[in-house]
Symmetry: C2
Subunit: 337 residues, 2 copies
DNA sequence: TTTTTTTACGAAACCGGTTTCGTCTTAATT
DNA sequence: AATTAAGACGAAACCGGTTTCGTAAAAAAA
């Protein structure tokens, strides 16, 4: 049985409340008594129970981070950013993985209503349904902050990147490098950031007079990896020789690389590729991959900072919206020597 | 204010204990009453407080995962494995990052003594000191399981890979490919898995009559990235033309690639490289990287499974030791066409 | 010296559950 | 008919803290 303040009180023949106050260095307690309590607590190696007090004051010092997966450089770096802030605030981080499943995401959020955490940072799963009520419900009960993959419908804080603009820039980059038949590989699901990236892509095409059929230029991929691979191969082998590719997410870039290898298409000679990706080793790929890199760590920091400000009642989350710029790295896959 | 069983009891004009028992489907309560309680609880959207009961029965349904970093494919995949098991058991996962700092690791473990979690899975930081008492202390108070980076001194469950053997195999592989001047880049710190890998390396050299000076063949790298880079470059540019490299950890492989690039050394023509790594995209590197891949997901699963067995009082952790095999992937960096 | 204020501490309620134990009613047993 | 057993529920303790409020003693003010 672990040491409690009741045991300390009993041994020292003083009241439980006195021990509690002494340990929190209350002015109500004399220095003499405080010293005694601290000494004895130290001697018994007293460690307070983390959740006992949380009942009374409703502070668990836990926050939840809900995301599709952790084996992804964007998300793992975001966690680093979140953890760096949480750590300075003495908070603990619970990580929840949805694996892009909306059912799982919903059941996780439902569980989070049980007072396990003081706030939630979330990047929604690709499969999320529009009509889900649970996000709004959670947002009512505790501070909820979206980062990167947001739900536009929910009125709460959001941290994102300039997706439309950076997708526009990426497409312009391909065009500047001479591409004339560009396609956009779009991730499955109905994420607003993906929509933004699609729009940036189309905006560039429009401005450059390269717009034809949206359906032929924006290729929706599947949730299934193998299916996606087939889709990609079919597009690349099509009669309309594609010479430029924008990948909306990192995973697709890897698939495009594999497909080009199998179809004996040379990157960047025959097909130029640029992708939204946070791979630190993009520069070591064969060929090195041009990327639009999101400031994952900074986004995590920003989201966590908003959360703690909200917990300190400093801000109203409804008003908050942070947009950070992505950075375009030009590498061999778009023709850099 | 959220709805509690006391509110339900009051509204239904029954005792709190009756509500509690009804909700847990106790046989003490009549079907009639249960129905009423369930209905009303559902109507009020009652969600039980996660930590209220934990005081009494000492079960938080939380586990801690302590690791050096998350932006590393081994660790992020291990988390996936852990999460997959934890999820089926209805447990929640707290992630703690040490960033290879022993002070941080110690303060984290100290905090975990406060009953925040029911058990701990840990991969120790490289900077950990031998004389730290806190690991043993935690192991006394709650189930503690080491995975991958273990502390040999502590008598508790461990999940690891066949480090000595796989390092031996990796070195043999280089020799079979014609390497005659092989060095082992060893990660900073004093981790037992690194020692095992060093031993496997030396064993191979010995058996092949290639052992010379250990100090010249096993190169200890620094905690500082830039310093490590300089060390690597100096070794590769040395007069004794190194033609084979074993990297004890993934990060070093990336540094070796950079160094070879800068020193204009061709991989695999002049230098062959093999590394302990879990990068899924190792095959897309330029050149593709031969790796010793650890079964990260399975290790996470195994560690979590041990923990839950221990929580169910099914096993004595002191006896447990799981060793999983790594897999050697031969790719271009060691000469595969 | 009397009154007021301050200091230091204790008793008890409280947070939201679980669990033990006692009691009353009804049904089964002898 | 008397006794026992089972069924259904309530009162209260408990888990380990925090917080409010009351009070005795000492110090300060009148």
């Amino acid at each position: 049985m672990s040491v409690t303040i009741r045991k300390i009180a009993k041994d020292l023949k003083i009241a439980v409340s006195t021990v509690s106050k002494a340990l929190s260095d209350s002015h109500e307690i004399s220095e003499e008594t405080k010293r005694k309590v601290f000494e004895y607590a130290r001697k018994l190696d007293y460690v307070p129970n983390a959740y006992a007090g949380s009942l009374k004051n409703r502070k668990t010092k836990n926050i939840a981070v809900v995301l599709p997966e952790v084996a992804d450089t964007f998300f793992s770096n975001a966690i680093n950013g979140i953890d760096s802030i949480a750590h300075t605030k003495g908070y603990h981080v619970l990580v929840y993985l949805t694996h892009e499943s909306s059912e799982r995401e919903e059941s996780i959020l439902q569980e989070l209503r049980g007072g396990r955490v003081d706030g939630v940072l979330i990047s929604v799963s690709g499969g999320i349904k529009k009509d889900s009520q649970i996000h709004a419900q959670v947002a009512k009960e505790l501070p909820l902050i979206f980062f990167d993959r947001v739900c536009d419908e929910i009125s709460t804080a959001k941290v994102l990147t300039d997706d439309l603009e950076s997708s526009y820039n990426a497409t312009n980059h391909l065009i500047a490098k001479g591409c004339r038949e560009i396609v956009f590989f779009s991730a499955a699901g109905n994420l607003s950031i993906i929509n933004q990236r699609e729009e940036g892509f189309m905006k560039s095409l429009r401005e450059n007079g390269m717009e034809s059929s949206t359906q032929q230029q924006i290729i929706k991929c599947s949730e299934d990896e193998n299916e996606t691979y087939e889709i990609i191969k079919n597009v690349l082998r099509g009669e309309k020789k594609v010479d430029g590719v924008v990948c909306s997410v990192e995973k697709l870039a890897m698939q495009v690389y594999r497909a080009c290898y199998e179809c004996k298409l040379s990157i960047p000679k025959q097909v130029k590729v640029i992708a939204f990706s946070n791979l630190q080793i993009a520069s070591l790929l064969a060929p090195s991959l041009s990327t639009v890199m999101q400031p994952a760590f900074a986004m995590g920091e920003a989201a966590a900072t908003l959360l703690f400000k909200s917990l300190a009642k400093k801000i109203d989350l409804k008003q908050e919206r942070v947009v950070l710029p992505s950075i375009l790295y030009e590498r061999e896959s778009t023709g850099k020597k």
